[in-house]
Symmetry: C2
Subunit: 174 residues, 2 copies
DNA sequence: CTACGCATGTAACACGTTACATGATTCA
DNA sequence: TGAATCATGTAACGTGTTACATGCGTAG
């Protein structure tokens, strides 16, 4: 699972600009993927060079020009091949949990502050995911995409439950 | 949060070999971090070169020699500085969820197979985490380390609930 | 007058991954 | 006889991150 697989997959559904791809990353894939412009544009460039996608430049008034990318038959084949590969393991990097792991080098206040920050982060992400769900439905969501949504929501909620309980436990013991 | 922060943190608690560090990655940090030997040994080397840790070679009979690394005052300062930095966002990469997102290019059987594989993966990881918990307690676990354990368990369980329900839903609808 | 939305890009860098390489001992 | 445990490493490679750079229109 690399950046190009995600980009290609999104273009496999419909032609899009790099900007639109970034938007989807943030609203729909946010729970399980992140990619910056610094990855998107170079990837688009390489994919075009390799004949996987084609670029159409659209001139706009009052707005910057757009590069709309469309997938080619070669790109479709490449994407289909990716879809047949073996599942790679899920991987999580949590700076927060690392701080907790090394928590004995923290004061109680510092630990509490980290927990609060993490609660904020998770609540914000959960809100973002939920906020875009209705629009997602309106624009057409598949059954399996609903699974990705539920998976994200369930995990955010599970994390928040543990975080809030931990906050109370630590604060009490002070 | 980089590899060197994790390595330094583990050496901050006690002297260890690269092999032992890898073992901790797999048994205790597995939910939220992963690092291979290809990262560990070069990191250890660089940390030593930078004066953050020192190496002691221990000759063993019937087993390969060990390099036991200990943290220096400079290393302790470096680690303490890391612990004061701002929390970085949690990041998840899930190949499984990407397949679900692009699930309309899959047959029902393929989708089901991916869900089964993911259930296996998550169950294995959950079992590993739980299996090492008792030993962790015996060797001394902190309150905040218990939070990392609970966080991992809660998330694995939340994922599994969604996965199993999804499996039934999809299988039914066939 | 500031911030946000729209829109694209590059260059340098660092980090980690992958594959390869070795080898004795012990347990099943 | 094969697999697992103990134990360490390198070299090449690729991917993605970070910081920088630009610029108009609109809404508050």
């Amino acid at each position: 699972m690399q950046g190009k697989d995600v980009v290609l997959g999104l273009l496999n559904d419909q032609p899009r600009t790099g900007y639109e791809i970034k938007d989807i990353f943030e609203t729909r894939l946010a729970y399980f993927f992140d990619g910056t412009y610094g990855m998107i544009y170079p990837t688009l460039r390489k994919l075009e060079k390799d004949g996987m996608i084609t670029k159409e430049v659209v001139f706009q008034e009052g707005k910057p020009n757009k590069n709309i990318y469309s997938i080619t038959p070669a790109g479709k084949a490449e994407f289909a091949a990716y879809m047949q590969t073996e599942l790679a393991d899920e991987s999580i990097k949590s700076d927060f949990l690392l701080r907790m792991y090394f928590g004995k080098h923290l004061t109680t206040d510092q630990a509490l502050a980290f927990i609060e920050t993490q609660i904020d982060h998770q609540e914000t992400k959960l809100r973002t995911l939920k906020a875009h769900y209705n629009e997602w439905i309106r624009n057409g969501i598949t059954d399996l995409q609903i699974v990705t949504y539920k998976y994200g929501v369930a995990n955010y909620e599970a994390s928040l439950t543990v975080l809030k309980q931990a906050y109370l436990d630590i604060a009490d013991r002070q």
